[in-house]
């Protein structure tokens, strides 16, 4: 069966950067990854072409619930095809319940790389990405029905509808995290964005070992170098980034942690913490603000 490596995260949590890391790890000779050619982790879990390939049905004529019923079969079909041996996929979708199972079915050989990031920093990054204010970003992160590229009128607006993707149900920031902490498909590795910034050698090596890739110190060093944030930002400035939403100034904007603690007001921090406290504590984030 095809093994599916799922790089799963809530939005703005380092998924694209991790795709670059995987690109570098699977191409040992690469000196710098090309942000516009991240072809190893090329597919989104919500890719409409994968859906049509599996079902021969136009997803644009189906409702959200109808699409969800048919989604798990897409992954079963990929696994059953058994070629290629491994397929990398990125996802912002929560592992939501579908019927008696989950979006990412238990009977499919998944390897899940679950990336999380402090919700204060996610809020700041989300506000820039979606060109919305911080309060709106915080409300979005608290919405259990939050969806990207959805069919509901509120989601069909400039910059939010990606026609190459099906509606993606992310849910709330903490709901998304729990769907992988407690219901991860297959074997799972949890990676905190902040830990990668602090100690990239250790974290990149963990990822490499988890994926069965070369974890030798020299290889890890090359991968770190090939994905340096300033390099990715410089590429975007020179040639753009095909995945940047229309109207967004820069995708590779800062790549730091702690911005949220500085930019959110006390009221906004309380709003985040009150809604997501249990998961923040579980992920070791409540001490971030001390």
């Amino acid at each position: 069966m095809t093994e599916i490596v799922l790089i799963a995260s809530y939005m703005k949590s380092g998924n694209t950067w991790m795709r670059g890391v995987v690109q570098a790890m699977t191409h040992p000779g690469l000196r710098e990854v090309d942000i516009n050619a991240l072809d190893v982790v090329r597919r989104w879990s919500s890719d409409r072409n994968l859906f049509e390939h599996a079902h021969g049905v136009d997803p644009d004529m189906l409702t959200g619930p109808e699409l969800m019923v048919l989604r798990p079969a897409v992954f079963r079909g990929i696994a059953a095809a058994a070629n290629p041996p491994r397929l990398y996929m990125k996802s912002h979708e929560a592992n939501v319940a579908v019927g008696e199972g989950r979006l990412f079915p238990d009977d499919v050989p998944f390897l899940t790389l679950h990336i999380v990031r402090h919700p204060y920093d996610v809020a700041v990054s989300l506000s820039h990405h979606g060109q919305i204010d911080l309060d709106a970003a915080i409300a979005f992160m608290a919405d259990d029905e939050a969806c990207e590229g959805g069919h509901r009128p509120a989601h069909v607006r400039r910059g939010f509808r990606n026609h190459a993707q099906l509606p993606q149900r992310m849910g709330s920031w903490s709901g998304h995290a729990l769907s992988f902490l407690d219901q991860a498909p297959g074997r799972s590795l949890l990676v905190r964005y902040e830990d990668v910034l602090i100690d990239p050698r250790t974290e990149f090596a963990r990822v490499a070992r988890f994926l069965g890739l070369d974890a030798a110190p020299s290889s890890i060093g090359r991968a770190i170098d090939a994905t340096r944030f300033d390099r990715l930002a410089r590429q975007e400035e020179a040639a753009g980034f095909v995945e940047r939403p229309d109207g967004m100034a820069r995708f590779f904007r800062a790549g730091r942690s702690g911005t949220g603690a500085r930019e959110l007001t006390d009221r906004q921090k309380r709003a985040v913490t009150e809604h997501h406290e249990n998961v923040m504590r579980r992920l070791g984030y409540l001490s971030h603000d001390d």
């Binding site: 516009n36 409409r48 072409n49 049509e52 390939h53 599996a54 079902h55 021969g56 049905v57 136009d58 644009d60 004529m61 189906l62 409702t63 959200g64 619930p65 109808e66 699409l67 019923v69 048919l70 798990p72 079969a73 079963r76 079909g77 059953a80 579908v98 019927g99 008696e100 199972g101 069919h151 509901r152 009128p153 989601h155 069909v156 607006r157 400039r158 509808r161 026609h163 190459a164 753009g240 095909v242 229309d246």
Partner: protein
């Protein structure tokens, strides 16, 4: 289905429609298609008695599409309906209770009408086709690239709709003065998302396609009720550079790009359409000049894009 049909499924008065060169008969209204006065039908749509289908679960293991031993296609529409297409002449809808006529029409568009085409040796291209000055211009490209939105913008400039989303082409017998390829009238409403109708063609009437989908069928002026010669094909793509550019493609390059964009090959193969798809694409690209048009991402670029298509229609040789 509608209340009357739910009480007496399939017993509504038969209505006749055109879809490309085919005549369809159906017991439910299909406002997407032009009415036909033809007495005989090439294909009949039937509605079986409503039957509850399990709303969830693993009954769709790896695909909603099953090919039966006799070559018939069965499409399990996610617990909403089951639709079987057989012999290129029979479509049977088994609805779940409460399925509306609008749901049924949308689900027919989602795959069964295409399966009918494949079974009849026709290629159901996912083109938007408009008529400019008596000839057809085909808008091609991957799903979601903006073909229908561009067709709507062109309709607002006086172009007529030939077909949106399911478009059939054919090649008349070679004779002096005859066109090399023609586009058939088909789906006579343009399907677009969200606020596109208000933004692009505010004077048109838009009807919701289905509850739960923010997508609309927009009524625009239709073209002639007969096939039109194809003057040009425009392969639309979102450019990486954020600007608009256009160039003429050679037939081989056009065919390769069109195959990539046309439709998913795996289900087409399962429906027995791969060979006719390849042959038709190759012939179409030899017969008709193809232009690659790269567009910026912003909706604000649409007027300039429509102007470019009109210019292409004027520049291309008369078919």
């Amino acid at each position: 289905m509608s209340d009357a049909a739910a009480a007496r499924p399939g017993a509504g008065p038969p209505r006749a429609y055109h879809l490309g060169p085919m005549r369809l008969q159906a017991p439910l209204p299909l406002p997407l298609l032009a009415a036909s006065a033809a007495a005989e039908a090439d294909a009949i749509v039937r509605v079986a008695a409503a039957s509850p289908i399990a709303p969830h679960g693993d009954w769709v293991r790896t695909s909603a599409l099953s090919i039966e031993p006799d070559g018939g296609a069965r499409m399990d529409m996610a617990g909403t309906a089951r639709i079987e297409v057989r012999g290129g002449c029979d479509i049977t809808i088994t609805p779940t209770p409460g399925l509306t006529d609008a749901d049924a029409a949308a689900l027919l568009m989602a795959g069964p009408l295409a399966a009918l085409c494949w079974q009849r040796g026709l290629v159901p291209f996912r083109f938007a086709v408009v008529a400019v000055g008596g000839a057809a211009v085909v808008l091609a490209g991957v799903a979601g690239v903006g073909k229908s939105t561009l067709a709507l913008a062109l309709a607002a400039r006086g172009a007529r709709l030939v077909s949106d989303d399911l478009s059939i082409v054919s090649f008349p017998d070679v004779a002096v003065g005859s066109p090399r390829a023609v586009a058939w009238p088909g789906i006579r409403r343009i399907a677009v998302w969200g606020d596109i109708p208000a933004a692009v063609a505010p004077d048109t009437v838009a009807s919701p396609i289905r509850d739960g989908i923010s997508r609309w069928f927009v009524d625009v002026a239709g073209g002639a009720p007969h096939p039109l010669p194809i003057r040009a094909m425009v392969l639309l793509r979102v450019g990486a550079q954020g600007t608009q550019s256009c160039w003429r493609m050679g037939p081989a390059d056009a065919a390769a790009r069109l195959l990539d964009a046309a439709t998913q090959r795996a289900p087409v193969r399962r429906l027995g359409g791969d060979r006719v798809l390849l042959a038709t694409v190759a012939r179409l690209c030899r017969a008709v000049p193809t232009y690659r048009l790269e567009r910026p991402a912003q909706l604000s670029a649409l007027p300039a894009l429509a102007d470019r298509v009109l210019a292409i229609a004027g520049e291309a040789e008369a078919p």
